[in-house]
Amino acid sequence: MREAEPSTNEREFVLAALKEGARIDGRKFYDFRTLRLSFGSDYGAVEVQLGNTRVLAKVSCEVIRPFPDKPTEGFLTFNTELSPMASSAFEVGRQTDEEVLVSRLIEKAMRRSRALDTEGLCIVAGEKVWSIRVDIHFLDHDGNLVDAACIAAITALLHFRRPDVTVVGEDVTIHTLEQRNPVPLSIHHIPICISFAFFDNGERVLVDPTYLEEQIKEGDMTLTLNVHKEVCAMSKAGGIPMELDQILQCTKIAVVKVTELTALIQEALEADAKKRQVSRK
């Protein structure tokens, strides 16, 4: 099913409103939509709502044999198949450009930037390592899937606890959650994606575009940063050409946004941890 194109009226109105400094949902140009994080009863499950965009991330783990050329490295894999639940334009089992770009962005943001310590996942070198899997389910598509997915993935990884193991010689015992408290993953830093949409020959720059804004935009760019002001990934795949200064300006905005979002994520995680403590008593 092809997506319906927005009408000329919608296109013109969105652009005219931007000239007046207004966005359709009443936000300022550099505002994110309200971010809501809700955790399941299990460790490593988080549902992210970014305005009307919804994403569920679920982390799971298993013990497998490492690659012979990297005997001490665990695995981190992502499943980012676009579900038709988010939009009926997404078809099951057909890879589209959009899907490739989303999955590569997540991959670069999380894996290439070494957010997770994969060496720390080793149990017995050359024999057994943890394989961590992040399933990202797109539930509702109202624009900016990448940022929502990235927040969901990193929050789920931070929230996740794997079973504790003891190694005696070659014997490995995996303790159930009842036997021993599960242990968190070792996360080096928190990469956050910030997506921009460009309008009016790059004169107007928006953060966190909605679906309608994405349909009308002339170009886009996704920056991945962490609170240490490190750029973990940048991606501007063609689209409208931009001045170098405009791009640098975006990185400045992104630095601010990343700080805000990281704080929100940590707050939510702390609140959840407190809740768990209370319910355990």
Binding site: D97, V231, C232, G238, G239, I240, L244
Partner: protein, 244 residues
């Protein structure tokens, strides 16, 4: 773990270049007789062949756009191109992503509205890989499109730059690339100096970003000079032959 010294105490790189020096570029156009346009390009040891077919009838009717041409990019890596022989499947996400990047880079530059309801195919073949595949592909595609006589508003010139140990350097080779250096590929329209594509992987502090990006921009301008010369030489050559 002992790491390779990427920068000598004198500030020279592993292959003897200075930080802002491109590798040796060799380029020719019209290398294929069957394609409507083609180009062969070497960035040092990275070797790429580009072929352009079209504008021609779109292969799938359903994809036809009523007001402009569709650009289709296909990407192929020869199994012998890398150090270890590796068969790449058609669905390798890295390759699909690259193809998508090239496609999106040329969409705003090619005057697609001149060729409504048609399709332009760009085929890229990596023959030898020594770092900077994306830049080489974009540069080769630009020359192949020009060779095919397809209307474009400007050249698209691409160059990589990265933070090699303690300095920014351009046009990284494979060893520099794979030592976990942060590398950025920039594609620029030389006339306006605007950036159309930018890709970066691995971490880099924000404060160093400007330096790396500007250096990449310089690299793009150098590339433009080289590419322009090849194109003009070829055009003059042709003009001379026609005059005879």
């Amino acid at each position: 773990m002992s790491r390779v010294e990427l920068l000598s105490p004198e500030g020279l790189r592993i292959d003897g270049r200075r930080p802002a020096e491109l590798r040796k570029i060799t380029s020719t156009t019209a290398v294929l007789s069957q394609a409507d346009g083609s180009a062969y390009l070497e960035h040092g040891n990275t070797k790429v062949l580009a072929a352009v077919y079209g504008p021609r009838e779109a292969r799938h009717r359903a994809l036809v756009l009523h007001d402009r041409a569709i650009i289709n990019v296909e990407f192929n890596v020869a199994p012998f191109s890398t150090g270890e022989r590796r068969r790449r499947t058609k669905n390798d996400k890295r390759l699909l992503e690259m193809a998508s990047f090239v496609k999106q880079t040329f969409e705003p530059v090619v005057v697609t509205t001149l060729y409504a309801r048609s399709q332009i195919d760009i085929y890229l073949q990596i023959i030898q890989h020594d770092g900077g595949t994306l830049q080489a592909c974009i540069n080769a595609a630009t020359m192949a499109l020009i060779d095919a006589g397809i209307a474009m508003t400007d050249y698209v010139c691409a160059c990589t730059a990265g933070w090699v140990e303690r300095e920014a350097a351009i046009d990284l080779n494979h060893i520099e690339e794979s030592s976990d250096t942060s590398e950025v590929t920039v594609a620029m329209l030389p006339k306006s100096g605007k950036i159309t594509l930018m890709q970066m992987e691995s971490r880099l502090h924000v404060d160093k970003l400007e330096e790396v990006l500007s250096l990449a921009g310089e690299g793009c301008k150098q590339m433009h000079v080289v590419m322009d010369k090849t194109i003009r030489d070829r055009a003059e050559d042709l003009a001379a032959k026609m005059a005879v």
